[in-house]
């Protein structure tokens, strides 16, 4: 084999090994195999009962249940970035972009950790809302629900949306 290619292979292998070793000892190391965060859909009963502190999976709902909660006045949180939010979001939702999430986020400070919140993002296959949910739960929010189908489906169902007026 060409000597240059062989040397490149050696560099790649040694770098990778160093990386894996570092990862073992790194307190913020990551698992080699990344697992999807498990999501479990709530049925009608679960929806009306306050959470029992079920940690195992993230709690999700479908669009009709989301609309129910919307009508009950539950606060929705939009996890997308501020551009998408301004272009159109679920009426009454507040924006906490997961992308630039900090525990001392302004909007966050005003929220009561014991209240129920519904988090959503753009559409299906969207991890952003799952990640924001995990982050909030880590901070002690006890009743977080994810509207996994997201803004797209809400819009398709002609449920109420609003845009942010440019100042």
């Amino acid at each position: 084999m060409n000597r240059t290619v062989k040397n490149i292979a050696i560099i790649v292998i040694i770098s990778s090994l160093l990386g894996f070793i570092y990862n073992v000892f790194n307190p913020s190391g990551i698992p080699l195999i990344r697992e999807e965060q498990k999501v479990s859909y709530l049925n009608e009963e679960d929806l009306h009962n306050p959470t029992e502190g079920v940690e195992a999976a993230l709690r999700a709902i479908k669009v009709d249940q989301a609309y129910q909660l919307y009508q009950q006045g539950i606060q929705f949180i939009d996890a997308r970035d501020d551009w998408d939010f301004a272009d159109g979001h679920i009426e009454g939702a507040i924006n906490i972009p997961e992308f630039s999430f900090e525990p001392d986020n302004e909007n966050l400070k005003q929220l009561d950790k014991d209240y129920r919140y519904v988090i959503y993002c753009g559409g299906d296959d969207c991890d952003t809302s799952k990640r924001l949910a995990s982050e909030l739960m880590k901070l002690g929010f006890s009743d977080i629900i994810i509207f996994l189908d997201g803004y797209e489906v809400w819009l398709n169902n002609n449920y109420p949306v609003e845009v942010t007026n440019a100042e």
């Binding site: 040397n7 490149i8 560099i11 080699l32 195999i33 991890d127």
Partner: protein
């Protein structure tokens, strides 16, 4: 004629240093925040989800190690080939993301220095690739700091 311009020791060495520093900086940011980097990779929706952590570690550390070696001029040809090939690959991925309409952070320098995927980012990368190509082609002229 361009050959004359680029076969200057100092020019090639400076290009090598610039290229190496870019990758060293990028690599350290990613190696220090592997989870964020893994998330950035998953946003491209190309690699299978379960594998992104694995690649996050490998890519970050290749950038760091190859970056250091390149900075000192150790095995310049190997390291510039490796890093420039990676850069070309990344740029293709960014192009694919743009074509698919993904509105994501490129993950190039970690989440602290976020840059959106787009034509600007692709252009920046092309400039860097060209610098890398000069270093590759004229690597014999670069001045190593270590053997």
């Amino acid at each position: 004629m361009l050959n004359k311009l680029f076969s200057n020791q100092y020019l090639v060495t400076i290009f090598r240093i610039i290229f190496a520093l870019i990758f060293l900086f990028a690599g350290i940011e990613k190696a220090a925040n592997p989870d964020d980097f893994a998330v950035a990779i998953s946003n491209y929706r190309i690699l299978p989800y379960f594998s992104v952590n694995f690649f996050a570690i490998i890519l970050a550390w290749i950038e760091v190690i190859a970056g250091i070696l390149l900075l000192f001029g150790v095995k310049t040809k190997e390291n510039i080939s490796l890093l420039n090939s990676l850069l070309i690959l990344f740029t293709i991925m960014i192009l694919i993301a743009v074509v698919r309409g993904l509105n994501i952070d490129c993950g190039c320098f970690g989440t602290k220095y976020a840059q959106e995927v787009g034509l600007l980012k692709i252009s920046e990368n092309i400039v860097t690739i060209l610098i890398g190509f000069v270093v590759y082609k004229f690597h014999k002229y670069s001045i190593p700091f270590l053997k």
